[in-house]
Every structure is written in C-alpha cells, then in structure tokens.
Amino acid sequence: MTTRNVLKQCSIFEGLSEIELEKIMAISRSAQWEAGDAIFSEMGSAAEMYVLEKGRVALQMSLPAGQVTRRVTVDVAGKNEALGWSALVEPKRYTLSAICLEPTSVVAVDGAKLRSLLEADQGLGYKILRQLINVVASRLDETRKVLLSERLA
C-alpha cells in the first residue's frame, strides 16, 4: 500500500484534500519493526506520530505494583490506526509504550514538521486536531477502564 493510501485511510487525516495529503506525505517515512520491538517508550521524547499500515501494536502504561512496576495494556492498535499523538502536543513525551505484537509496518510522520505545518495552515490544523481529539478521548476512556479494573482486581 502506498503512503498516500495509508494516510488516507487513517481517521486523523480523513477529509484532507489531495494537496493537503501531499504536504503530510512530504514529511513522512515508512518504517518496519519485528514482533516484540518497542516503537516508542513511555516518557520518551515524542519525535514522530505513526499510522499503522500492517500489524498490531499493544499500547501499555506503567503501573507501580509494590516494589516493581508492571506494564498493563491500555489498547491494542490495528491497521490504519494512529499512535504517538504526543508528538503534536506539549511536553512532547509519549504517555504510553507501543510494543509490536506482530511484524509491523508504519508510516511515521515527523512531529516537529507536522506542528509547523499545522501552525502555517490553520485550516489543515483544525481538521487534523479535530480528529486527533477523538483518538485522545478514546485512549483516555480505555485508560480509565484499565485503572478501574486494576483497582477492583
């Protein structure tokens, strides 16, 4: 699948014109990981946002459990889903870890360049951030469920 199609099928870039998609493509690259690899780690510097082309990725958060820290899965992202929205907002640190469950292919969008693009073209910025809020809200909801289930366990 081409980078254009991967971006087009991601909800965050839904409704963008061909010219706008071209701008996003210009600051994107393809990347691959094996099962078990971490695409990014919690609290790591958020340099890129990712759109999954192939594979499944577990999004985990750390929870202190006595002396040790456990990692619990908040969500499992699949094809066409976006990861790493932290690259677009301060303090530019990932809030979760992304662990590949399968061999995974992604389109990685440069966070700094995307932020500049959104600032320069506020129409585009509004379209993308409006969709991004849905992703953030969904992850927040999943996190709330995880915390509740951990508390009840």
Binding site: E34, A35, G36, D37, R56, A58, Q60, V68, R70, R71, V72, T73, V74, V76, I99, L101, E102, P103, E142, K145, V146, L148, S149, L152, A153
Partner: protein
C-alpha cells in the same frame, strides 16, 4: 530442556485452546498441565503449577469476576510479561493471531492440523518448543509466535476456489443463454417478417393480375357508341311549353 515438559495454555476461545494443546502435545514429552481462559487465571495457574512452558493468546481478556461491569480488556501481553517476570525459568510464548486463518507452508506433514511458527522477514519456521529461545523473536523474555491452521485453511481455500470457479462458469452460462435467447427471438421475428412479406407479395401479385384483367374487360366494354342525346328536343315556335332542360329528362 530434556525430558518431560509441563505446559500451560491460556486462550479464551475453547477451540483455540484445543488447537494450542494439539500443537504443543504433538511434540514428544510435552504435557499440558493447565488451561486458562483469562489473564487473571493464567497468572494464578502459572504461579501454582510453575510450568516450564506457557502459551498465551495475546487476545486473552483480563476479567475481574464482575460480569455486570464491562471492564474486560485485552491483556495477553500483560499476563505473558507478568509470568515471564515472576517465573524466570518459565518459557513464555505469546501467540499473536490464534484463531485467525493463516496461509502457511510448513515443513511439517499434512496430517498436522495446527502448528506454531515464528515469522521473520526471510522465512517462517515452526516453533520447536524445546529450543524456544534458540530461534524466533525474543523480547522481554517472550517469544512471539503465530498459530497456523493449515488443513482447515486448505479446505476453506479449496471451497472458495471451487465456488469462485462455479460463479464464473455460471456467469458465462447465463451470458451464453441470454445471447441464445436474443438470437432465437430475432430468428422468430425474422420468420414472421418473411411470412408477412410473402403474404404481401402474393396479395400484390394477385391484385395486379386481377387489376389487369379487370382493366382489359372494361376497355372492351367501353367501345364508342353514337348516342342521340335525349334532351335535344326540337321545340317548335308554336309550342308554348317552357323549354325542356336536362333536369326534366
């Protein structure tokens, strides 16, 4: 890891658990000592049974025992990591696509219904449980593997292949039939048109002959005849009557 191996299998769907058990027990000396359908049960069983090998389906749900509360979440990876961390000697294998059809060529015989394999960029190799950490992808003490179900997939593929051929053939037959129907319709119309033309021709010829005969008969009947006009009556001067006109004849 010589001798008998005790294994624990954790997956929610019974069918997938059975496939995993079959894939494990295919290897000589491997005995499945426990099965779990949730992450909490899997971690609990692993703690109490301390098996040498644990197979965990990544879609294993984390249940908290309150069915009315919709808090089920996917936590196969969490359970696998917990078991790996707590039981250092236990080999943990995370199955990432249990229950999904996978087209996978294997070096195993055709009698094998399900098998585990690790996937690399170059090739896919079946997992040898006794050499769990010698090959495959290892991360955080886990091996990531897939479950192949070849025989089932082959059957499904065969059914799909046959049905696709049947659909294509049937479509061609329908098209051929439609073509034949159009041809027959046109042929029938042609027969009717030809019959109508022949009838018209016959009628025309008959009418022409009849017309010719009638004309001949009429010509012979219309020979010139000297007819003295009846209305040319000589009126004498002494005749007081009004002159007779054609209307009086």
């Amino acid at each position: 890891m010589a001798g008998r191996l005790r294994a624990l299998v954790a997956s929610e769907p019974t069918q997938v658990r059975h496939l995993l058990v079959d894939a494990l027990e295919r290897e000589p000396g491997v005995v499945v000592v426990g099965q779990a359908d949730s992450a909490v049960k899997a971690v609990g069983l692993a703690r109490s049974l301390r098996p040498e090998v644990v197979l965990v389906d990544f879609q294993l749900p984390h249940r908290i025992g309150l069915d009315a509360v919709p808090l089920t979440r996917t936590s196969g990876l969490d359970a696998a990591m917990d078991i790996s961390r707590e039981l250092g000697k236990t080999k943990v294998l995370l199955v990432t696509n249990a229950g999904l059809p996978v087209q996978q060529e294997s070096v195993l015989g055709k009698e094998v219904e399900a098998f585990l394999y690790t996937q690399t960029a170059a090739a896919s190799q079946p997992v040898d449980i006794r050499k769990l950490f010698d090959g495959g992808v290892v991360a955080d003490g886990l091996v990531f593997a897939k479950l192949g179900t070849r025989e089932r997939i082959s059957d499904s593929n065969r059914i799909i292949e046959i049905s696709e051929k049947l659909v294509a053939f049937s479509s061609l037959v329908i098209l051929g039939g439609l073509g034949l129907m159009v041809t027959l319709f046109l042929a029938s119309a042609g027969v009717f048109l030809a019959a109508a033309g022949a009838a018209g021709l016959l009628l025309g010829v008959t009418a022409r002959v009849a017309g010719g005969l009638a004309l001949k008969r009429r010509k012979s009947a219309l020979k010139p005849e000297v007819v003295k006009p009846k209305w040319l009556k000589v009126v004498r001067d002494d005749d007081q009557e009004r002159p007779q006109t054609m209307l009086d004849i």
